[in-house]
Symmetry: C2
Subunit: 396 residues, 2 copies
């Protein structure tokens, strides 16, 4: 029984090809055990050792040209209608398949903007051009980036259900962390606790274990994208954690903020509450502005400006990315117009997109306040897939 979700995404890919007026989409790979095109999981469901072409046409026809030793595996995976095995070189069979459809425009997985659409390595690209050098096909290749962005970005109900399910389990673990936090424990202690909870339940981490979860306590932390350290929780620290799981192939990615009460305190001090509330409000405001057709950078700008207007420094990253089979998914990215984000901030939000919203700000002498929620873009606004944090969690 082939994976139904893969067949569904192949069908969606064919529709997107029609919409974008591209005749064929070819995922061309080699030795995926060493380096794996990020699209394979979604549209193929297995890897390949030798040069292999996984072809979807705008009519919805699917053909896999694979090394003969992998024919049986492709049949048993069952996701491709036509399987063309070859022994010594992919060349002749590949050209035969291309000739059969004679496509005018062929999308290939290379993209300056999106890593998800950039699974074709440069060496394999050169090889492919050489294999086809006696044909006209090298002139017909275009980037698959708009197909990949649409296919990964426009989630089906089934995909959203998987993400919701991963979020639910993640929030349970966040609650357990609240009970675990105490003065004297280190960031690493907290991370180890989280990892043990994830393994206990048989989930995977949503990203590299080095910094999943990322845990930060107090004012002198390293900032996002660092792993947990031996730094210990102290009274008066603001703590935040960035953490997600992968369950049934789909990811969550969430952040929460805590405050460690000092002796005699029953709530967080005013400056901590202010920082927390500015984050909360930045999320609410940007979430409200999210609608299909809005450009991604416009949403980033709302949160970024609000934070700066309130006297904090702007966050050194984007407001939010898409989530799906990977923690950083899809095309459009709600980031500022910085060169490092390429064209992703300039893309419009689309119905079916699932985004994080994750501004941050430093609260001087206390630590970093940040929350990360996950929302689903619908016809006239967003639906929250995560139950938002509304008050800073207190640690006694």
């Amino acid at each position: 029984m082939p994976d139904q979700l893969i067949l569904e995404k192949q069908q969606q890919a064919a529709e997107i090809l029609k919409e974008k007026n591209i005749d064929m989409w070819m995922t061309f790979v080699r030795e995926t055990g060493n380096i794996k095109d990020p699209m394979l999981e979604m549209i193929v469901g297995t890897g390949a050792t030798w040069h292999s072409a996984f072809i979807i046409t705008k009519e919805g026809d699917t053909t896999a040209v694979v090394g003969s030793l992998e024919e049986a595996n492709m049949k048993s995976v069952g996701t491709f209608k036509n399987i063309v095995p070859y022994l010594k070189s992919v060349k002749d069979d590949l050209i035969k398949v291309l000739d059969k459809y004679n496509p005018n425009k062929i999308a290939l997985n290379f993209s300056r903007n999106s890593s998800m659409a950039d699974g074709l390595t440069h060496g394999v690209y050169l090889e492919l051009m050489d294999l086809l050098k006696d044909t006209d096909y090298p002139n017909r290749f275009v980037s698959s980036e708009e197909i990949v962005a649409a296919l990964r970005g426009r989630k089906s109900q089934k995909e959203v259900d998987f993400i919701k399910d991963a979020i639910k389990d993640t929030l349970v673990i966040f609650d357990e962390v609240t009970g675990f936090l105490e003065v004297g424990k280190s960031e690493k202690d907290v991370a180890d606790f989280v990892k043990s909870k994830v393994k206990e339940r048989g989930f995977e981490m949503a990203w590299d274990e080095e910094h999943c979860p990322a845990v930060f306590t107090g004012p002198d932390t390293a900032g996002a994208h660092s792993g947990p350290t031996d730094r210990k929780i102290e009274k008066g620290h603001v703590i935040n954690m960035d953490f997600g799981i992968k369950k049934n192939g789909y990811c969550s990615d969430l952040q929460r903020t805590w405050y460690v009460l000092k002796d005699g305190e029953t709530e967080a001090p005013a400056e901590v509450l202010k920082g927390f509330n500015v984050i909360k409000e930045a999320i609410i405001r940007s979430g409200k502005a999210m609608k299909p057709g809005k450009l991604a950078w416009e949403i980033d700008d709302i949160a970024r400006s609000y934070i700066v207007e309130n006297g904090y420094e702007e966050y050194p990253h984007g407001l939010g990315h898409q989530v799906g089979r990977v923690a950083h998914d899809g095309g459009a990215m709600m980031g500022p117009k910085w060169e490092r984000y390429g064209n992703l901030p300039y893309m419009p939000l689309e119905i079916g997109n699932v985004f994080t919203i994750e501004p941050r700000l430093p609260i001087k002498d206390f630590g970093i306040a940040t929350m990360e929620e996950i929302v689903w873009v619908k016809e006239d606004g967003v639906e929250y897939l995560s139950k938002p944090q509304t008050e800073i969690y207190l640690v006694k």
Copy 2:
């Protein structure tokens, strides 16, 4: 404490750069959580989100140009001497670092022949060329394939010890499988048993769980690179299994063959023994011929010819690949001169290479005979890292 093995391999890389007369080696990546250059594990020890350059010079200097949010992580990983953080675009800082060394020849990770040296995606390649378009550097790039082949292929004693250790644990599991095999169990039952043993001990699989282990029983199996099926073990079947683990970052990859006795039999029939012994002898002969300087295809040819001379069809793959941090490692590959293997069969064996030897042949009406041993190339021949199978294992 940085990983000592990484520092050792960086040092070795600098020596190889000198030997090959290349001034600098740059591993240029983006969003390694989505697609990861296979060299990062060996020479960096962490990933990166934004465009990042990991540079090793022939003088042994190391510089990482990374997004500012990842500076702290790079410092804590500790494998690069110089860390240059950037905020909005990698461009200026990258050019500054290149100008500092002004290299004439810069190796980049793209290769038509070797997936291990082909971690640079085509989109990131285009981006890099555009970032450097106002400089002369685009004219100075060469493929890193000979550096990668040498660096991955020439194993240190420490690396070989890790591989030996993984092999030892793998052979223990093979022995447990011998006790588990019995008529009526399916290929999937055997694979599940093996997976449970691997997880029990906290190892990883050496390749995709879909076909690690690969288990084949009887005459009508699918052939290599297929996953286990519901096919059941019967009397008179030849069974073989292809399986490896990853332990401490290094892999094993081994195959063994069993025969299921029929009622009244006390040993395998003559035709089964003949097939098994031809495989055994093909391994001994090719192993004996392996010496530094021999071309990889010459070794393949010895085993291939011997098998064909004995009346069997030639195996539809190469005789052996290198093993290390991944199951298919290094450059040179002992395969036939088929186009799909590129230049890998034409490369010479080098001191320190660790190779599998894994011929196969079909025994009509019984199944597939195959063994896979692992050998280490030394100055005047090979040392077996696996204890070779000398007799077909019998299942009662």
